[in-house]
């Protein structure tokens, strides 16, 4: 016979009574004051182990018995059986240390390989058509804000560049969606960007900065790389997944202090966009070579951009910046120009 001593709560008042619970075979006796109540073992429900040291036993008449935790209580029917194994794991330092290692591995591998792979496979299943709407909206609002105006590049030059852009398009997975737009902009200076849905925008300043059409095409090839590799959609999915994962991991810390939350997400996300830039660079080198243009055109235009905007290369901005150091991009373009494959 096993006897646990503890307290009894009747479920009708908040008074605590000294009591004992005795297990006699299949029968259970609750003794408090002078009363003795009997139940079947199978009618009891024991609360899960918590780590705080006491367990609660629910009785079929609505009463409850509280006592210090005891391994024997695990042999009675459990209230939430699925937690038993978790509680067992939670008690062991060896398991905890193993979990530290596992968490570190899962977070590292997930961030490095898992999330990008998952985002890519999801992105490739979503038709690019669904981005079209968003791209048009972005372009419209950039006009409304006065950031973009109609291009002032003469029609002949536009047509010449567009003809070669169309050569680039041929055979691409999103051939039907790739579209080139020239715009004049004071706000963003010499610039080019790929919109969701396949539109590439290049500013007049950038076209004029280029010594020749090859340099313009080098930039356009880089933007085609962004579209072909689905960087908008992948970025959106990756950033969302990172945010969800970071919220799950830092949930406890965030409740204490808003001071630490948010920071890791920004760092992790900017790292992804650095990788996208490198990927688009590689894509452009291959596309340029296919069309008989040396990747050194890319290096040339990047050097010109760097000369025009020298400030953007300081150390702090580089760490947070989504663009890899311009120097290393230029070097890689020169290497690509030299290698024959």
């Amino acid at each position: 016979m096993t006897v646990f001593s503890g307290y009894y709560f009747d479920g009708k008042s908040a008074l605590r009574h000294d009591a004992e619970l005795a297990l006699v075979g299949d029968e259970v006796q609750l003794r408090h004051a002078e009363e003795v109540r009997s139940f079947q073992r199978s009618e009891l429900r024991v609360s899960p182990r918590t780590g705080a040291g006491s367990r609660l036993v629910a009785m079929p008449d609505g009463g409850q018995f509280q006592c210090d935790d005891n391994g024997l209580l695990d042999r009675l029917p459990q209230d939430s059986p699925s937690e038993g194994i978790v509680a067992w794991l939670e008690q062991r330092w060896g398991v905890a240390l193993g979990c530290v290692v596992l968490v570190a591995l899962v977070l590292f591998a997930g961030h490095r390989y898992g999330l990008p792979a998952a985002a890519e496979s999801i992105a490739l299943r979503i038709p690019i058509e669904s981005e079209k709407n968003l791209g048009e909206e972005v372009l419209d609002s950039m006009h409304e804000f006065g950031w973009l105006a109609p291009s002032r590049i003469d029609a002949q030059r536009q047509d010449r560049i567009r003809a070669r852009f169309n050569d680039f398009r041929r055979g691409q997975a999103y051939e039907a969606y790739l579209d080139l737009q020239f715009r004049h902009s004071q706000a963003i200076g010499a610039n080019a960007f790929a919109l969701p849905g396949g539109t590439v925008v290049i500013t007049d300043d950038l076209v004029e900065l280029a010594e020749n059409d090859e340099e313009v095409l080098a930039i356009l090839a880089h933007e085609i790389g962004h579209i072909e590799r689905r960087h908008v959609m992948r970025g959106l999915i990756q950033d969302s997944l990172v945010a969800v994962a970071a919220t799950a991991v830092t949930a406890d810390a965030a409740t204490l202090t808003a001071a630490v939350a948010g920071l890791p997400v920004v760092i992790l996300q900017s790292e992804y966009s650095r990788e996208f830039e490198e990927e688009a660079d590689e894509y452009s080198f291959a596309l340029l070579k296919e069309n008989g243009i040396s990747p050194s055109a890319f290096a040339d235009i990047m050097e010109r951009l760097q000369a025009r905007y020298p400030d953007t290369d300081n150390a702090l901005l580089n760490f947070v910046s989504s663009h890899p150091a311009t120097e290393s991009r230029i070097n890689r373009a020169r290497e690509a120009a030299q290698s024959n494959d």
Partner: protein
């Protein structure tokens, strides 16, 4: 342990086993006594709970998070002892998992429309208007029903209508959302030509900002006044004006930090024009923000508890902004320095701080907490309800 009645009240069986409760009640009726609140949570125990559950959550791609929530809450509750009895968290993982799946679906719809299909966003928000009161009421009911002390659970009496009247007070939120639905997002936020509409939007947003403390107080009052424990109902007396005072001072703190930051930036700029360290300049602003956060947390918590009663039990909360600020800063430094491993320690010391600064006194013996059959669900009998028995609070 001040009054002699404590022992008799606490352990009637042991002290005077055969004196019926009724006799004790006569003696104690006008005496007040303290109900000690203590927190026994330990960082070493919580560390293992935290890491095991985090690990399983990651390995199951989030599905285990429902178990993780339950395991952590069980430990927090069981480590909180009022008058030497632990609180009990009764919820089970499966209903929480269902709640999380519903919440995830809602979040996905919001994410999708805000990322890809902006024209649908106002309609998504409009649908959100309809379900928000349900989320507020069902979460409050869930939390009450699955929290117990000495085999008595809390009960929440609020319903959808009450929640809707509370959160849509003065109709400000519905006006904003319905305005967006019919005015369109662009005219609400860009509206460069139509300056009249722009002014209306500005006034509504400004009014919403100023009225926020009153709104928050009404929400807290709605949840508190609709909660009961046994036959005792929670009474809540804090006012919106008190909340406004707290947020006003917090705003001044942030503004003050902004001024210091601007001055510091100007000084650094005049000293050395080549490199201004953005991180150094923003430190005062950041600290000011954390201090304002700590001030708001401490002050609102104090105001709420000091004006709340449960039957004849009154509370006293004495958190200090400076102490909480120091706690937050040391927590953040420790968490960053240990790549997150100090998180459980930080959680435990913060909880201990909060509970060490909370005390309760009662003027009547606890036998008065008698539940009648209609209002009381004893913990032993709390069972999982239907599908809509969900916990949507993430």
């Amino acid at each position: 342990m001040t009054s002699p009645s404590l022992d008799a009240e606490n352990e009637p069986d042991r002290a005077e086993p055969f004196i019926p409760d009724d006799d004790l009640r006569e003696v104690e009726i006008h005496e007040t006594r303290t109900l000690p609140i203590e927190f026994t949570g330990q960082a070493s125990v919580y560390f293992r709970i935290w890491i095991v559950n985090l690990c399983l959550t990651l390995l199951t791609l989030g599905i285990f998070s429902a178990w993780a929530k339950v395991r952590k809450k069980r430990y927090f509750y069981a480590s909180t002892r009022i008058d030497d009895s632990p609180i009990q968290y009764l919820a089970e993982p499966i209903p929480i998992l269902k709640g999380r799946l519903v919440a995830a679906a809602l979040l996905f719809i919001w994410w999708f429309s805000s990322s890809f299909y902006l024209p649908a966003l106002p309609w998504v928000l409009g649908a959100g208007l309809i379900i928000a009161p349900w989320i507020v009421a069902s979460s409050a009911a869930f939390n009450a029903r699955y929290s117990a002390w000495r085999n008595l659970t809390f009960v929440f009496h609020g319903n959808y209508l009450g929640a809707a009247l509370t959160i849509y007070w003065l109709g400000l939120i519905p006006i904003l959302v319905v305005g967006m639905m019919f005015g369109g997002l662009e005219s609400a936020f860009i509206a460069t030509e139509d300056s009249g509409l722009w002014l209306v939007v500005l006034v509504v947003v400004l009014a919403a900002g100023i009225l926020f403390p009153w709104w928050l107080n009404r929400l807290k009052r709605f949840v508190a006044r609709n909660t009961s424990f046994g036959t005792w109902r929670v009474d809540y007396g804090a006012t919106g004006g008190q909340f406004f005072g707290v947020y006003f001072v917090a705003g001044l703190i942030v503004m003050g930090a902004g001024v210091v930051t601007a001055v510091l930036g100007a000084v650094l700029l005049s000293l050395d024009t080549t490199s201004i360290d953005v991180v150094v300049v923003s430190v005062p602003l950041y600290l000011g923000y954390v201090f304002a956060f700590a001030y708001t947390k401490a002050s609102i918590t104090n105001v709420v508890w000091n004006h709340a009663r449960l039957g004849s039990v009154s509370f006293r909360s004495t958190m200090k902004s400076g102490e909480l600020f120091a706690l937050y800063v040391t927590n953040a430094l420790a968490i960053v320095a240990t790549v997150g491993l100090a998180t459980p320690w930080a959680v435990m010391r913060t909880m201990r701080y909060r509970l060490e600064h909370l005390s309760a006194r009662t003027e009547q013996p606890l036998s008065e907490f008698v539940g009648d059959d209609r209002s009381t669900v004893h913990a032993a009998g709390a069972e999982t309800g239907d599908f809509f028995d969900l916990d949507l609070s993430l």
